[in-house]
């Protein structure tokens, strides 16, 4: 048995704070994601998203598609998921999503990556330890075709020492 002392280990950190989001800064998000049939069936049936385009390949083919479609809410949730470490893992509630467009279908086997641009930030009037940040997030398939874009707004923790200072 080694004499490892967990209290002496350096704590690692993830995420960014309000002060890190200069307007115009671009984040190319990590990992990307290839969607498969299992992802899609699990998500679609668990959320009871009952349109056969997402779980009946013969129906989807009759509608002119080569395969079932990836559920658009799975696409959105995954793109947000891939962006969390860069944008919101530092802490603060999810406020909203606006102006979202699904530009074209995503099929099983397609690979999606995401990037976000900071479009606005301001201090929170009611909560001095938080600020409000807005990003424009875009997602692209393996052919660099845009499949999704939206604006997202979050409350974001301010760095200690900056809290309560109305400097954006």
């Amino acid at each position: 048995m080694s004499d490892f002392d967990p209290t002496s280990a350096k704590p690692l950190r993830k995420g960014n704070a309000f002060e890190d989001f200069e307007v115009g800064r671009v984040f190319e998000h990590h990992w990307g994601r290839t969607f498969n049939q299992g992802d899609n069936s699990l998500f679609t049936t668990t959320t009871m998203f009952f349109n056969p385009l997402y779980f009946n390949v013969e129906y989807a083919k009759a509608e002119g598609h080569p395969d079932v479609l990836i559920n658009p809410m799975l696409l959105l949730s995954t793109v947000v998921g891939l962006s969390v470490e860069d944008l919101s893992e530092g802490g603060g509630p999810f406020l909203g999503v606006d102006d979202l467009t699904f530009h074209q279908p995503v099929y099983p086997g397609d690979t999606v990556r995401a990037r976000s641009t900071v479009t606005g930030r301001r201090p929170s009037g009611s909560r001095p330890t938080f600020g409000i940040v807005t990003w424009h997030t875009e997602a692209f398939n393996q052919r660099d075709e845009r499949v999704l874009d939206y604006k997202r707004t979050n409350l974001i923790s301010r760095r200690r020492g900056e809290q309560g200072r109305d400097r954006a």
Binding site: F43, G81, D98
Partner: protein, 161 residues
């Protein structure tokens, strides 16, 4: 297999009128199962959704359901009634997450018909719906608009089939 017989006959483009509102019959209790498997499936790395120990010291005292799990379930609960015959989901707007949802809460979905317009194709039209999500105590947890391209009733089906 005829695609026309796989979906309902009361939810084509013609069947919706602006101003209608609906309460969808099925609610859904969000167990740890739904929040954990869907949060991880979509690779949301925020541990407020999956680390109960860390959340004990937070203002909420427990894990929070990821907002898009809540939103996806509300939209899902409404889908059979309003978008079972959708050709495409076109977009979303004004998604708002208005109160925290915890494991064990039960969600109910409501829908308003906001607008209707002709689409790019003759066999379908565009409908904007506004979904509302509530939990068992009446707290509003979600709202959002959804734009779908919805099939018109095919010639093969009559209204009184």
């Amino acid at each position: 297999m005829s695609p026309e017989t796989l979906t309902g006959n009361g939810n084509y483009f013609e069947d919706f009128e602006v101003g209608q509102s609906f309460r969808h019959v099925r609610g859904k209790t969000v167990e740890a199962f739904e929040n954990q498997i869907l949060t991880h499936l979509v690779m949301n790395t925020a541990q407020g959704h999956f680390n109960e120990d860390a959340m004990k010291d937070s203002p909420w005292g427990q894990r929070l359901v990821f907002g898009l799990v809540t939103g996806s379930i509300i939209i899902g609960l409404a889908t059979q009634d309003v978008a079972e015959n959708a050709i495409a989901e076109l977009g979303l707007d004004g998604l708002r997450f208005t109160a925290p949802v915890f494991h064990g809460d039960t969600l109910y979905a409501y829908t308003e018909v906001v607008s209707k317009s002709d689409g790019d194709r003759s066999d379908a039209g565009v409908v904007v719906f506004r979904h509302h999500g509530y939990k068992q105590d009446g707290t509003k947890v979600f709202e959002g608009e959804r734009r779908v391209l919805l099939k018109r009733r095919p010639l093969e089906r009559s209204e009184d089939e």
